[in-house]
Symmetry: D3
Subunit: 308 residues, 6 copies
């Protein structure tokens, strides 16, 4: 049960408005308690909007953020009302990456004086932070990310774990880690090569930390669309999320799960997994409902699907 998100949405501050699509209202006035870095809302039926909300800190990721992301997406994964997620950043930029000031103590000064024991501590932290973004991937509901302005360091780790990436014209990206003396270890090096189809560019970005602007991001495939500004990119993300949310959740979530499975396995293994997956999923009523709608020239939006 996703009690926090449920109560947040039913609370007085952010009422449940199924038809609400006004983008203007999307950027929340503050985080949704108990979260301190995330603002959760439901701008449209079956669509959850998660906003990284530390605008005065350029949405830098502090210690609380890493923990709250896991809690938030684990709840979204269980929330039967949610069928698609939009992720964005509040304020001027998407994110400036990790909050070095807040996290320095944890990363730069591991406790103890034995190298092995400090290493053990370091590994535990990295694994925990990796999980912060892996939850996005493990959550079966598709996540559309809307980037505007800067998307730096851990921001790239974050967006490569999302399913669909859009950005505004003023966006720029930087795999910044090499500049602060480390190899990016919470997802970028692992996911970026399968996200964009230009390995020379992947290497260049990761090894030089150079900025990449929105046009290049589009042409290399990091994002699938560039929109004029923050408002339009958010609207576009909402539209895509709306399209997804209107379809059978059995079909949509099975698609996400199998797409991710296919990335990590051979085609033969993926086909076998898919066939095994659909043993039960093809017995859903959604198939009959959808097929009937299709024959009647209706769209999925005309069909009511049960919760999943």
């Amino acid at each position: 049960m996703s009690s926090i998100i449920r109560s947040a949405l039913s609370g007085s501050r952010r009422l449940y408005h199924p038809a609400l699509t006004a983008v203007r209202a999307m950027s929340a006035s503050g985080p949704t308690p108990p979260f301190t870095t995330l603002s959760i809302s439901q701008p449209a039926t079956h669509v959850t909007h998660v906003e990284l909300h530390r605008p005065d800190k350029r949405n830098a990721m502090n210690k609380a953020f890493w923990r709250e992301m896991v809690e938030c997406f684990n709840q979204i994964a269980e929330d039967p009302e949610c069928r698609a997620v939009v992720f964005s950043g509040a304020g001027k930029v998407f994110t400036s990456g990790i909050d070095l000031m807040d996290m320095a103590s944890e990363i730069l000064q591991p406790e103890g004086d034995d190298t092995a024991r400090m290493a053990w501590h370091v590994r535990r932290i990295i694994t925990k932070y990796q999980e912060t973004f892996s939850v996005i991937e493990k959550c079966p509901k598709p996540v559309v990310v809307a980037v505007h302005g800067a998307c730096v360091g851990a921001g790239v780790d974050l967006i490569t774990a999302c399913d669909i990436r859009l950005c505004s014209q003023d966006s720029w990206f930087s795999v910044k880690e090499v500049d602060i003396g480390l190899a990016a270890d919470v997802g970028t090096l692992q996911r970026l090569p399968s996200v964009i189809g230009n390995r020379s560019l992947v290497n260049e970005l990761a090894l030089t930390a150079r900025k990449m602007y929105s046009d290049e991001a589009k042409s290399c495939g990091l994002v699938s669309r560039v929109l004029p500004d923050k408002e339009t990119v958010l609207t576009a993300a909402m539209e895509i999320a709306g399209e997804i949310a209107a379809r059978s959740p059995v079909a949509v979530q099975g698609t996400k799960i199998n797409l991710i499975y296919a990335r990590d396995h051979s085609v033969a293994e993926s086909l076998d997994y898919m066939a095994t997956w659909n043993m039960s999923m093809l017995q859903t009523q959604d198939l009959m409902k959808s097929a009937q709608a299709a024959m009647e020239k209706k769209t999925p939006k005309d069909v009511v699907f049960s919760k999943l």
Copy 2:
């Protein structure tokens, strides 16, 4: 022995014309018996043309099609005369996907009343249908697919199993499955991510079923060329197939097999497999013939290679 294809090609209706390259004649007047959905011809030496031939049904894939594809490509795999294949669709469009009417009984109403036993039945069918497109991949002769007009649902599953994809200007593609309530289970989700280098786009296409037109298909790499119309795309496909068919079949087929192997294995494993493969293949006379031709400034087309 590929008796059916051989007899079809030597039969009265479609005579063997080694030099025939007239595209006009390419669209057959009907399926080649015993096939009821496929028309087989040999438009040029060592090139086999397989045409999906249900034009009045928009080349929808019915039960017979799934079975005939396997039979057809297994025979092509064994046919020593064939060195390259062109695949296209007859009539107005490439294909509208599965023939829901014809297949509904099998898919939508599995027999029995026990979920597990129905699931068993479902898995058997999916596995059988997956094989329909996997035979294209298992056939060591390269397959060039020429798309025109609509390429919907199972059509995308089909073309992602082909080696080279071309399309006409009026083509559009749609990963339609999510619209009828299921996750695409006969190849698209498994192969598309390694076919095009833009994962955000792959996800968007698979999760929203939106149409993608030829220009975007070219820029994202789904097709390697866009031609003006059906006739020109077929001509271009024939030319590529002709180029391939003119080269050493030992070299060509070894290349296809190893490219597919590399997709599913690490680089180290693929290099090992390749070295093992070429233990025998480098002992071919084709190598000496080709090397000699190269030194004499001739092209592979000037060399006669033995059957394979």
Copy 3:
């Protein structure tokens, strides 16, 4: 110890000039002894330039080349002074591929009269030649390759093992192997599919041996930049190498190693490996130095990193 490279760089013929960036001087007057096909220099601090140097033979790869590459890159891997490598070809073209004349005896006429024993011999040679390019990948220092003019056959095998690819406007590429009757067996078929994000094009190139020019190479992602001519592409490569060399070698080399690991493993495995890798690497002083520089608004170039 990288005695040969060290002595070469400290020898009278090619003095050590840390600040030397003059591109004009880059193309050496001859190979660096004891090498006969490679010219080694150090055009800038921490940057090693390896030039394939058989200009009068269009940089064709002879028997000596295959052996010298392994020796050269094994030494570079151990050389604590080197943090980035630029690879280019001397003369008119990058390379015309293998030197058929020189190598024919080895490849075309394996000794013995028993097929299995000849096969054994063939496999040993292929494995040895595969290693020639795999050393580029195993060397943890990033390799930027600058292509100009022709890059044919084994040249494509070579560049796909490099990390960053640039080319001049007049460059063209051809996976030539199929034209001489064999499947490319020293890396192209194994690495190209993960280098560029258009599988249809990969197949077309490998199966037809057609030329691909610089513009297409850029749009498909084989290279990340096209420069006007040989001089500018080399300058650009030096700049990128300089950027890389200025950063923490702990960060840079860990990044290369983990990017290559990620190509060959699932995301989950790669994240695990990365966390294990950084157990020790995050304890480096480079991290503190870099973080401090970042907070002081300095760049990595202002930091002095210890040898690695």
Copy 4:
């Protein structure tokens, strides 16, 4: 539909006797048409007995055998009446391995004079023969093999593809291939190491072709039981098959499929596959029937399960 096996069982020669367990009648008087090397019977409800039947040739495997095995096990896989299989050999010994005389032409004298083309032919044959034993593994019904006397060469390939192995006291085994100049290529080298838990012994057997007798076969785990003679080993195999056949086919066949999956994948992958598999299988009525029987202190034999 398994027409051949069905008609064989309903024919006049070998009537359907559900309760027949008399071992004496098990060794058939001849092959079951249209098979020429296999005798098929149904000694007990839901149990199929496949007997390799060329007693006067010491059950040597001729060309027909390889083909008939595939046909036979594909039919058994589809036969809803069959829930477990017993495999044994007619006459004095289990099998002397391949029939060199019958197969020499195919294996020893491949057609053609080009090494690559002969290699192509050889690979096709090996792949076909590998499939002969892989069908045993792909058939979801467990196969209990009862060995007596000699089990040589391809006989070992065969039994390692079976699920449960028993043998009589007079049995002996030999991985004979190395003695006729080849590496065993239809399964032994691939399956034996995961079949028995003593790698030193596996290597010794495969590299020296020495005989291993029943006692050592038991102690190393090649067989799970040794019985006094052919009659008792067959009886024991029938009893085990009967035990298996009495249980829910959903449970039994899911168990076999997942055990084989686990052999070839990591534990994490196997757990994921298992959970996906049981999504549908746990919804079976067999579970409720079995659980109810268990609570009523009945055994699975008291439950009637639907066909699968």
Copy 5:
């Protein structure tokens, strides 16, 4: 922080007695709050004893158990005082497996009427239960399990996830799942084949659910020792745990992690991971301390290692 376990151990009911090795006291009088099915104690320095404690229910696994195991082992994983774990069962038998009565509602009657949605629910439960035993494996502290009497169904799933298995003479084991109509889905089918080296026996056990007694369990390798009775098996388990706890936790836990890694990867991958792991671990002071002790003819027990 492992607050629960810490407070349990420091509480009045079960005082911390570093030297306590009296086996008589090992079987607790009841579960350790807040646990209701597990009793936690610390019988010796750095050794934690976890006892499955539902003796009047034959230690059947109810809903609470599945949850408490995860909580318990996650805490043990974090507890710096614990270096080895002994697991056993209270009362007459080790465990009779799942508590069908308690869990029937969850497993047998999934909510909803749509097959796909029930399947989704089923998968979530299975995954959760799999995690119950996987935490034993993920916990880097070695777990020695002491079995006595019956070890049935999920009990086998549990012990195959432990590192070292001992049993008493009266023990017997049964992979019971097939008898209640399902394929064992929480670990047995996935882990048993790599636990014991006799695949024929693994298959027989899993497909027939037959009992295996202690002697066979020893000879096939399921357990590494058989002791006369419950008391002696527990003493032996404590001794082994004590031996482990006396050694460097850096060495011990690194060994467990790498042994499990090796099970799921190729030797080459495992060697690479091991080398990467030891980059930091070999820099531990434990190595110097241990080496020095070895040179002084002392044992690890004479060395004091820091917490990990």
Copy 6:
């Protein structure tokens, strides 16, 4: 070319005696120059004997040993005269493991003061030492190891990389690494689990460093035979090596390569690799020679096979 071994064998000190089988002479009077830790001889046709020869140091492995092993086995791999190898230890025991005194400087005191740079150094050393034993595995000639007396620490790493293991009655084994504060990192943890079929025992040995004596080594499958003493175990090893050396080297070495491949891949992948391997290997004359000998009731020893 294996110049060192060749010259050693043809030198005055250790003449080439093809028929020499006297075990007494096997233990050499000293290392074979230029080796300082290994003594090389050829006790029988096609059999090479490698003896670890530091008897006064209990065959402890010093720095020279690690380097010489690689050189030695790389030469053996290339030596066409050698078809099988026997490995043993000179003096009282097989080996006491690493020579801590000699290696302490390298392992215990890595140079530098930056953790990351020391880690880099440590990884290089571990990788180098891993290679010392991996060369045994990469050498396609089977290696039979004859153990007597102590086999400790790195000795276990060594023997698990050999193909066939024999030991004398007085042998004992200890995975000693945990006692000196590290996880065994040069092969034991990676190979032992696939060498013996009792995972509980593997874990116990690796986590407690306890001694295992010859009888247990036999019953768990670490060795395949126990002989009375050093002389008889060496004789038995020579006999097995002789059996192997008498067979077709094409068959023998292909068998070793494919057995190792199978350990690290799925059965399907291994079958594919095997079929590809035998494309060329089945075209060997050895097959015809062997088959003919078999038909004439001769043994492989009556056949003369060409060098490989």
